[in-house]
């Protein structure tokens, strides 16, 4: 099926054609000039009031400073924005599209890039690109191992962090093998979202990295010759774990945020999230008790970056680029990292900032619920996206129907 989509469709040519109408990202003054009076429709997941509040601030600030306006289109699913762009292409609207900027990463990005649905390259021409360090932090330039090639700009770092209620569970298991032992001793008190939910699939990858004999192998695409060997320990581990999961694996949480509800309701003891500050935010929102604490696994935790992409036919690409540049500014990044605002980690390299800008990131008051950035441990790189696709397929075959 994938082959139909990949096809020989000359999408790249289309994208190039549309790009010609947008300002040249390399000519930044021209971009700033073109951005004036535009209206950026920023399609971004809207499930978190905390993040929505930050987006509202950034939208107002960027617009006020640069003379354009920003509309946050809150989405339940990034796929809705992708649908819109696909429909626009199907209808032949190759310019003046309604989606100007998408919060995106991973497979959504890979697919849109492959289908020629993205404008670019532009991200590496942003003035603030000089503040990131793709060598020290490859995650800002490789999205699930796919080189971004300037088709998207990083604006937030994510990392898998676990949390638990210390009042009920003082000492949580801190590795993938330990998690299995703990689940056996505490049946029904651990759950992960049903893949292909993004967080659920990430959990599979986290376990795969911890258990597979050769981690480096995962950076290259899946190859049938060693797929079985690479994944056998994962399936054995999951086979042992599943009967001890919440509802014995007969029902699954539908999404990542559901894990927080389950922890809050006392149904489970351990939850996890891609936002290292999730626990603190949930405490501030009364979703979790103040006794909640975060922890990371000893194997390290999968981390990646969240990006901003511009569709190939965006009507207001210039202002979208200016907005993305603003979001990468030390001011916006520091505000984002403030645990009282959001707590999202910065994509900027501290050694590339002026002393004054570096100081913006110091001295945040942090609750006990979440870990400071330096305590988050090693970041595991995302495997090549083909692994996620295969894992999701095989997971569905093995556990997708409760029998």
């Amino acid at each position: 099926m994938r082959t139909i989509a990949t096809g020989l469709f000359a999408a790249a040519a289309l994208a190039a054609g549309a790009a010609a109408q947008a300002p040249n990202p390399a000519d930044w003054p021209a971009v700033l000039e073109a951005a004036k009076g535009q209206e950026v429709h920023w399609h971004a997941w809207g499930g978190s009031a905390t993040i929505n509040d930050y987006i509202a601030w950034a939208a107002a600030e960027a617009g006020r400073r640069h003379g354009f306006s920003v509309v946050h289109v809150p989405l339940a699913d990034t796929a809705d924005a992708v649908s819109r762009v696909i429909a626009e292409r199907a209808a032949g609207r190759d310019s003046g599209g309604a989606v100007d900027l998408i919060w995106i990463n991973g497979e959504n990005f890979a697919e849109m890039k492959e289908q020629g649905l993205l404008f670019g390259p532009w991200a590496e021409s942003l003035p603030n690109w000089s503040l990131v360090d793709p060598v020290a932090n490859p995650a800002v330039a490789f999205d699930f191992t796919i080189p971004t090639e300037g088709y998207e700009a990083p604006w937030d770092m994510a990392q898998i962090v676990f949390f638990h209620d210390s009042a009920r569970l003082p000492e949580p298991p801190r590795s993938i093998p330990a998690l299995l032992d703990w689940a056996k001793a505490n049946p029904g008190r651990f759950a992960y979202p049903q893949p292909p939910d993004f967080l659920g699939s990430t959990f599979l990858k986290q376990a795969l990295i911890a258990l597979t004999p050769d981690r480096a192998r995962l950076q290259a695409p899946v190859d049938e010759s060693d797929y079985e060997a690479a994944t056998a320990p994962l399936w054995a581990w999951l086979d042992a774990l599943t009967p001890h999961l919440w509802r014995g694996g007969a029902a699954w949480p539908q999404s990542g945020p559901r894990l927080i509800q389950l922890l809050a309701d006392g149904e489970t003891e351990i939850a996890f999230s891609f936002n290292p500050n999730e626990a603190a935010n949930a405490v501030a929102n009364f979703q979790l008790p103040e006794s909640v604490r975060s922890f990371v696994l000893e194997e390290g935790s999968i981390g990646n970056a969240n990006f901003l992409a511009i569709p190939y036919n965006a009507g207001d690409a210039a202002a979208a680029m200016v907005l993305a540049n603003f979001l990468m500014s030390p001011e916006a990044q520091a505000r984002k990292q403030d645990p009282a605002i959001w707590g999202g980690m910065t994509v900027l390299a501290m050694d590339r900032l002026s002393a004054e800008d570096r100081a913006r990131f110091d001295g945040f008051a942090r609750g006990e619920a979440s870990l400071p950035p330096e305590a988050l441990g090693p970041i595991l790189p995302e495997p090549h996206p083909s692994w996620m696709v295969r894992l999701e397929e095989d997971w569905a075959k093995r556990y997708g129907s409760a029998r």
Partner: protein, 572 residues
């Protein structure tokens, strides 16, 4: 010669149905083609350039397909049958009682709660960590921690059926109330009672056939809806595998764009399933009618213990339905003021106004947009519906309406797939991105509800009333506005309220056709619901409920006030 004595009444050709069909034809075919073409591998925007059976082959290769299909069908049939039975038992057994009047009064809020909010409320009620368990724990159950019990998301879809029944009973009850005056049950009941029939038996033998004829379209809509529902099914239904409609959405939303072909094939299968279920229901109707005739001819007077049990069953089902939705609504209200609320506390810490202060100010603008769009889409739909039905009566068109089945297609094709084609058409026509386009798109989904709500009572209305008015010198316009519409005020307002609520509930059409520029309480609610914060979900769900409430209240109160001295227009 045929027209000779038909007179000048039909000087105008039957324009309205033709116009309505013409208005619908393009968007509905675009929506349908937008599903059918990719299901056969054709979708150039995603590189599908030639027809292929691959999407269907992949669909049928999905090992869980039989279970997903069986779930859709069973859930749909069970929810429809139980809801219909409950409503008929309530109307037959309790009309005129205090319980009946209480249910009538409860109807407007019951109907205004969106399906997703009702599901959310129900899930919080019955889950092992839910409200009921909290109220009983730990003093009665001994649970310090919620037990690991599979209640919500059970593999048989029972909690999904319960959720659907809770929402569909009020809907069918409302439709039945609007239909009753045309069925004139009081006279038949009196006759049946005089002939020695027990109340329930007499009602089913004499009134039921006439009432069912009027609520038939709503019943079929309930069947189609229950089979295709997504939002409720995600919350309450099984997930491994889910009903087919949910799996279609999962494929459609998968980052892997090639899965959209399989999703389209799934949507076509879903359409076929609904069609097959409708045919099955038609067969069921025939069988029940035949059995019923024999039952009626048998002359049994009924009564006895059975009748009493059935009455109790009706009351129990209705009370359960109303109780579940109201408890859910109460849960929402409490969550909106909740601080921390751990298990097994029956009530949260707080109360705090913080959630309201955070979200409250953001409610006003989307609320105004929601009401404006719903009012416009409903007015347009009501106008087209009345024009079609009036043309049907004036020109003696066949009530089956022939081409009007087209009207119902948007209801039974899975929306997420249907909208792809619709959106492409809107874009190609340059009709997108604004409030007007969103109103037009809403009308596409509102019109069928308005039509199916009004058609039964309209067609059942005694046309001799119109003839009397005409022979008294009234032109067709006066006969319509001074006689027919006032007499059908209640069903017309009911239809408008149902349409209004349908518009309020639209998420994907608003988002996709509006290009994200049109924000309603529902687009905000659905986006926030993705984050799982119950306090935010509660506030926006309550906002949705409030948006839909006024028209239902109006439909209940205006006829009661306007016709307070008109016994002939109360329910028979």
């Amino acid at each position: 010669m045929v027209t000779a004595a038909a007179g000048r009444a039909s000087r105008l050709p039957p324009l309205a149905p033709a116009l309505t069909v013409a208005l619908l034809l393009l968007p509905v075919s675009a929506g349908f083609l937008g599903v059918a073409a990719p299901s056969l591998g054709y979708m150039p925007a995603l590189g599908g350039e030639r027809l292929s059976a691959l999407p269907f082959r992949e669909l049928f290769a999905w090992p869980d397909l039989p279970r997903a299909v069986a779930l859709s069908v069973l859930v749909g049939l069970a929810a429809t049958a139980i809801s219909l039975l409950a409503v008929m038992l309530i109307v037959a057994g309790w009309r005129g009682s205090r319980a009946f009047r209480a249910l009538e009064r409860a109807l407007s809020p019951l109907l205004s709660v969106p399906h997703a909010a009702a599901a959310f409320g129900l899930a919080f009620l019955i889950a092992p960590s839910g409200w009921i368990a909290r109220a009983l724990s730990p003093w009665a159950t001994g649970w310090e921690r919620p037990p690991d019990l599979l209640i919500v998301q059970d593999p048989w879809g029972l909690s999904l059926i319960l959720g659907l029944v809770a929402k569909e009973i009020p809907f069918l009850f409302l439709m039945t109330l609007a239909a009753l005056p045309q069925a004139q049950p009081a006279k038949s009941e009196a006759v049946a009672r005089a002939l020695g029939y027990a109340p329930l038996t007499g009602w089913f033998k004499t009134v039921f056939p006439r009432v069912y004829r009027q609520i038939r379209l709503p019943v079929l809509a309930v069947l189609a809806y229950s089979m295709s529902v997504v939002d409720m099914a995600i919350i309450l239904g099984p997930s491994a595998p889910p009903p087919l409609s949910v799996q279609v959405v999962r494929w459609m939303n998968d980052p892997d764009l090639s899965l959209r072909f399989r999703a389209a094939a799934g949507a076509m299968l879903q359409l076929g399933l609904v069609a097959a279920a409708l045919l099955f229901w038609f067969g069921l109707e025939k069988a029940v009618a035949a059995l019923g005739r024999r039952w009626v001819e048998g002359g049994g007077r009924g009564g006895g213990a059975m009748e009493g049990w059935l009455r109790l069953l009706g009351l129990a089902l209705a009370a359960l339905s109303a109780g579940a939705v109201f408890a859910g609504l109460g849960g929402l209200a409490i969550w909106s003021f909740a601080g921390l609320w751990p298990f097994p506390d029956a009530l949260p810490e707080g109360p705090t106004l913080r959630s309201w202060m955070r979200h409250g100010p953001a409610l006003a603008a989307p609320m105004a947009e929601t009401l404006l769009i719903a009012a416009a889409a409903t007015a347009l739909s009501l106008f087209l519906t009345i024009a079609c039905l009036e043309a049907e009566s004036r020109h003696g068109l066949a009530p089956s309406g022939r081409a009007l089945w087209l009207l119902y297609l948007p209801l039974i094709v899975p929306q997420v797939a249907f909208l792809t084609g619709l959106q492409t058409l809107a874009l190609a026509a340059g009709l997108d991105g604004g409030r007007g386009a969103v109103i037009a798109a809403h009308a596409l989904f509102v019109l069928p509800y308005v039509f199916l709500s009004l058609a039964g009572p309209w067609r059942e209305w005694d046309a001799r009333q119109a003839l009397v008015a005409r022979t008294l010198g009234a032109g067709p316009g006066r006969a319509l506005f001074a006689v027919r519409l006032p007499m059908l005020l209640r069903p017309a307002l009911t239809a408008a309220a149902v349409g209004f609520a349908a518009s309020v509930g639209q998420y994907l059409p608003t988002l996709l056709i509006g290009g994200g520029a049109v924000r309603t309480v529902t687009t905000e609610a659905v986006a926030l619901a993705a984050g799982g914060d119950r306090r935010a979900i509660a506030i926006w769900s309550l906002a949705q409920t409030a948006a839909a409430l006024a028209p239902f209240l109006a439909a209940a109160l205006i006829p009661r006030i306007a016709w307070r001295n008109r016994a002939g227009l109360r329910d028979g």
